[in-house]
Amino acid sequence: MQLNESTYETIFLLYIDNELSPKERLEVEAFIANNPSYASEMEALKGTVLSSDKIQYPFKENLKLQDWEEDLKATYATILKAYVEAIPGLSTSFKNSLKKETASEAIIVKSFGFNQQKFTYAAVAACLIIFFGYQQLTKSSVSNLSKSNSIATNLNKVLAPNISPITTTKSKGSSKNIVSNSSKQARVNSINPVTKTIQLATTKLQVSNSTKTQRSNLLQHESIAMVETTPNNSVLENQAAMKEIPRTYNNPITMNATQLAVSTANIDAKSTVDEKGLTTYEVIDTEDPNRTIYIANFEIDGNKFRGITRRVSAFLKRNKSDKEK
């Protein structure tokens, strides 16, 4: 910084504007001290500097928006309270009653919203019960339908023996064989006790030993034969049921007991049975612990299924008791 006659004014202006470093300021002060003629010039320039002037903005608080908001809230709350108190329907008791109702609704919604697991369990249990019941009904009806179908099939086969001979078993041969060779049929029945041949006739038929007579009788009269394949342990039950069937048939066939009787089955060959009464129902023993339950393709032991149902019911009861508490 060179202070001389040509530069002093600029440096003095920088000095009064406080744009010089402390070192430069000292140099200026030293220059003035050494050259007193420049002191008046410095004082004149210092006289152009404005001194501080206390002027205050009168609406400073109005610029603070937060105060406005608080005042607005307070004013609004006062006005709102006055309006609420002025309306009878919005009294405090009425508002409290509304709050209670709202709370109870909220609890109900909450229970529905957060206890879906219970509903899932209940739905699964209901599906199992429905499927189990349907399975049982289907099983019974299928067995009965199979019996009825076999009866109907055999009836048709007996009614038209020449067209469609019974070929399921040897004992189910044509009526010709049955009549003409009773000893052979008896032997077949004794060999295969599972197969039971029931000769149903309500009309008495005189069966002679001659084959021709037998054929003519068969052509003139209808014969009904039912072949049923049943488990060994149900043969006697079916036979007992057969005896109780009402015997009213419009076209009875009388058969010789010595030729048609099945010795092992103890069937009364002369008895007449109504084919409508052949539908029997299997009695389900629900208390049998060894009973096997089929759900779809899964085989479930009765005891296990009972245990599952008991656990589900206990779980639901426990949840219910907890909810009540």
Partner: protein
């Protein structure tokens, strides 16, 4: 900038901005409107303004609004050294401060703003240049020119007063 920082800006800078504007336009109501507009703009843009830049932001906004106000109202004729009215100064106005303020008021708008920002607010040349959208060298030249004018005015008033 938070609400709290904004309120601090109101407390710290409202007086300075108002003084700067009212000294320039010499009209209190208009100065108050300009200050309010400046703080309104700061409030609207408070998310983009840093607290340490709030002061210069306020002065910048206020200065430009003041320029717009002067151009619209033409209340402040741009005066140069030749247009300074030489009114007689009575004994009551012999105080240097009043003479100086009279001389300052006779400066043009740019020179006046430069002097006010420099003397009242203590801004540096660079800061004044940012506020007034000038270069630093322009600020230096214009301000020095204003000082010389003021010195000459004061020296001119002094013999008359004496």
């Amino acid at each position: 900038m938070t609400d709290k920082a904004y309120n601090e800006c109101v407390d710290n800078f409202a007086d300075g901005v108002y003084r700067f504007i009212v000294k320039n336009i010499r009209h209190t109501e208009d100065a108050q409107d300009i200050v309010q507009s400046a703080f309104e703009k700061l409030w609207v843009n408070r998310a983009q303004v840093l607290p340490e830049k709030a002061k210069s932001y306020l002065f910048t906004v206020a200065y430009h609004q003041m320029i717009d106000h002067i151009r619209k109202s033409n209340k402040m004729p741009l005066s140069d050294e030749a247009s300074i009215p030489h009114q007689p100064i009575n004994q009551a106005q012999t105080e240097l401060k009043e003479l100086l303020m009279r001389a300052v008021n006779e400066l043009n708008s740019t020179q006046k703003s430069l002097v006010l920002l420099k003397d009242y607010e203590g801004y540096s040349y660079q800061e004044i240049a940012e506020i007034m959208n000038l270069s630093e060298s322009q600020v230096k030249v214009y301000l020095h020119r204003a000082r010389i004018i003021l010195k000459n005015k004061l020296s001119a008033y002094a013999p008359t007063a004496s």
